[in-house]
Symmetry: C2
Subunit: 120 residues, 2 copies
DNA sequence: GATACTGGTTACCTCAACGATACCGGCCTA
DNA sequence: TAGGCCGGTATCGTTGAGGTAACCAGTATC
């Protein structure tokens, strides 16, 4: 259904951490992006989000479920299979994320430059 | 130059706290909005942001200065006068804030409804 | 019997953001 | 000389998001 996720899709040194912008909790935005291409399993999500611990991932997914951003579907198989999928509501965040991305392309360098030249 | 700010412009019970979105630190987005209408003095900013303490306000403004979002101009008068003003970079955030607002009008009710119906 | 896989949970800890409160220096006015 | 205005600082305490490490149940496979 969906191609495997790029293990490097979220690079730890990515300057986007300087963005004055956050989608939900720390990992919410990245999870939305991971799910953009179709439903994913718990363990699949851990691959691109290398730094996330299972506790925080399940915590974040639970919050996103509660807010109606994702659905959780458990299949009665062995080994167990659970799939998370964006709802229409969750998918609507992609538009915002794209707006942030465009802003970032245009203005993030200016923020980094301002920090650079701001001697304390 | 600019009309006085509405002391009630940020209501403590505003459901926007449920938005899966944040501009910078806790107060950054609101400060940008306060400065949208023109330069403001330190004390002027404290009016609409009733709950902010001077420490946090000056801290946040310093960060925004560092990132090139606002400028700080101190006039040599008595009593002292210091004005904060959005830079072009800071002003560019207004576009994003507006996008968030539109998203909010359309989808925030769905989030609140999802929380409502999500019995734990 | 041991080990592995999946999808988690539990208990504990850390740290930075945020808040409360008090205070400061320079000038002006009463 | 006492107080107020302005633009902050200094000190301390709290809180909660997030991280660490270990563990668990159920099944299958070696």
């Amino acid at each position: 259904m969906a191609e495997p996720l790029d293990p490097d899709m979220f690079h730890p040194m990515c300057p986007s951490s300087a963005l004055p912008f956050q989608i939900g909790d720390k990992w919410t935005g990245m999870i939305v992006l991971c799910l953009a291409g179709g439903p994913r399993r718990f363990t699949e999500l851990r691959v691109p989000l290398r730094a996330i611990t299972p506790k925080v991932l399940s915590q974040t997914l639970r919050t996103m479920c509660r807010d109606g951003l994702v659905t959780r579907t458990a299949y009665d198989e062995n080994p167990p299979r659970v799939e998370y999928e964006l709802t229409e509501l969750g998918r609507s965040l992609l538009v915002l994320i794209d707006a942030v991305r465009e802003w970032s392309d245009q203005y993030l360098p200016a923020i980094l430059a301002a920090r650079e030249s701001h001697q304390v």
